[in-house]
Symmetry: C2
Subunit: 396 residues, 2 copies
């Protein structure tokens, strides 16, 4: 039988990242292509102890069906955590637990967008999110990034000329893939535009805790008194991505609709995993753990940045992120990016071509993304040396 | 801000079951409304040991990002299990791990149906599945159930008159909610019709292992040589629903598209949970465990059936399932079902009205679903006595 596929799925190609991730599973390849947190950052000992305690004390709770909204004490604890730490969330908001942040975006799209509606995104943006929007047959409206975040006047232009934009998808901290952090001024302007044009903001903040330089900038949602901001947080980068636990903080009326959508998707997020996250937030020194993770990432970032400075052609521009997992390198205009990425993998180094993060893969990009959190120090040096040699051969 | 919702989500009401499940969380209510496996059936000791071993031996594997298709050894083991136990799956098929069987149905719908397409269902059928189909704006075409499964001549009639049916959703074993098992003859006819009208079958088999009477009937997929059958299995009813691990066995070409859809939904099913299921399938005596579960369910079924015989008005018809979790009771034509269910909950007993399982909640039903796997023996007797008293007051 030849299955006839839906138009929406014909609209999505396999994620370039996931496919490269598979290729990079070959242990001989030095993979700068992942988006993985460092395995050294996992609190393995504690997760062992918490899991044993949960299965000792509350086995039935951990193994039976549970509520679609998520485990109530975890939702309450997250609300308290967001309020105390980031001034995020009000009495009008509620928390919904999701199976990873990708599911949060899936549910928001399912609930807010009809087919053919538009989603405004930073260009470039996280390919996983773009594919989720595509999978509901949404059109992507890209607005270019600058060094301090999205170009706000082009953002307003887009809102004016595209009346079917249902939300703006933004990653204000250490954006994936560019590493850029949106300035406070721009965050205020974005919120203002959201109100003026009545278009909600989806503020995706998976990396926000992992700041290793500069000063924290308030979340857009922390400045919102209009109920316009849908905030997405995750345990993937601060605890473990394999557990697949994330959350939405958003006005209550929307949570009830998102819960209906979640019932139709996976009924509830695995409850054992939620209980582990609950222990993480209640029985652990979060700040000390984050300080350890940030120090680790700073070290790895510094090593990669220093090696780039030493080895790359001076014709390559490189961003200077203040946190997160990614560096973004731009080759001179006119360079054949795919040729560069292909040569890199032939020499044993995987990077993600910038085209993967554009609204259309045919959009022009001469950038590529490097991840510094996953590879060992030795591989960071060796891989960057190989890429550096390549940049010098091609560009100098 | 008033969020403008998508048409598709406006199409779904909160699942009656999940809402009743919430109400039934009141410990004073005797809940025959759940679909939970018995907590006595969870191999708690073993899950404790397996989890400790995984986090001791493979902590990084269990906590890091993983492949969207699922953990490869688990996929291989499931393929072998299905082949040996049910003759399900061929060299053309592949396994995709999903976050519960609900997600399997979500992905299949996302990949096969455009908005407005039709899905053929047994009437009544599992409300969670119906809501998933609705959440993609599919129209539901219901075909009536008989004592030996779907009415096959009406099924053919529906296929003839509805050219936009993209798949048939069937639960051949101990159907939810009716408890009915489809006869071998009808399974063959269904497969024949699937080929003749080129409409795939989604064969959902969450309860198939939990047979406590009668003889096993071959899976539709075991008789399929045309690649027309998408088979859905789950660990929820045989191991633990809280872990949210299920799987699809379906032709390879479709698995690759479903994997793309899964990347857009939750990236991958939590890997710790998959590793626990792998231990369950490789280090445990599955048959002995299933024999224990089936004996437990038989005992509970028998207690409920005997108490019904003793207490219910003779004007109530009751199905005789050979396995699974549910009994289906039908009041005489013309009875006010919602009045009955409301009076039952006022007296402290929750049942699920049959209308919840119909294609439209406005469709007529005088049936209700009873679950015998969750309540204690004492509560089964007490709850059925209360319902029995009510049936006698209303019907005798």
């Amino acid at each position: 039988m030849d299955f006839v596929l839906s138009d929406r799925i014909a609209n999505v190609k396999p994620s370039a990242i996931r496919e490269i991730f598979k290729m990079a599973a070959d242990p001989r390849i030095i993979a700068f292509s992942a988006g993985n947190p460092s395995q050294e950052a996992f609190p393995v000992e504690e997760i062992r102890r918490w899991t044993a305690e949960i299965l000792e004390q509350d086995p039935i709770l951990a193994l039976q069906y549970s509520l679609s909204e998520g485990y109530t004490p975890l939702r309450q604890r997250i609300a308290q955590f967001l309020k105390e730490k980031y001034a995020v969330g009000s009495a009008d908001d509620d928390i919904l637990i999701t199976t990873g942040a990708e599911q949060a975006l899936d549910l928001v799209t399912k609930v807010l967008c009809n087919e053919g509606d538009e989603v405004l995104c930073e260009a470039p943006s996280f390919v996983g999110a773009l594919n989720t929007f595509r999978s509901y047959h949404c059109k992507l409206v890209g607005v270019e990034m600058e060094e301090d975040g999205i170009n706000v006047s082009k953002l307003e232009e887009a809102l004016k000329t595209h009346p079917n934009i249902k939300f703006m998808y933004l990653i204000p901290n250490f954006q994936n893939p560019s590493g850029v952090t949106m300035s406070l001024e721009k965050r205020k302007q974005v919120l203002e535009l959201s109100k003026r044009y009545n278009v909600p903001v989806v503020e995706d903040n998976p990396y926000g805790d992992l700041r290793f330089a500069g000063e924290a900038v308030p979340a857009i949602k922390s400045m919102d008194d209009s109920g316009n901001v849908i905030y997405v947080g995750s345990f993937s980068k601060v605890l473990s991505p394999g557990l697949r636990v994330a959350y939405l903080c958003t006005p209550k009326a929307l949570v009830s609709k998102l819960t209906v959508a979640k019932q139709c998707t996976d009924v509830h997020t695995p409850i054992l995993n939620q209980l582990i996250c609950y222990k993480f937030l209640t029985e652990f020194d979060f700040d000390a753990h984050i300080a350890r993770c940030s120090a680790l990432y700073q070290e790895k970032y510094q090593l990669m940045a220093d090696t780039i400075r030493r080895c790359f052609s001076k014709n390559v521009q490189v961003t200077r992120p203040e946190g997160g997992l990614f560096l973004w390198c731009t080759l001179p205009e006119g360079t054949d990016l795919m040729d560069f990425c292909k040569k890199a993998i032939e020499r044993g180094v995987a990077v993600v071509p910038g085209t993967a993060f554009m609204m259309e893969e045919s959009d022009v990009s001469t950038s590529f993304r490097l991840n510094y959190s996953t590879p060992s120090d030795e591989r960071i040096v060796k891989g960057i040396e190989i890429l550096g040699q390549l940049t010098r051969e091609l560009l100098d």
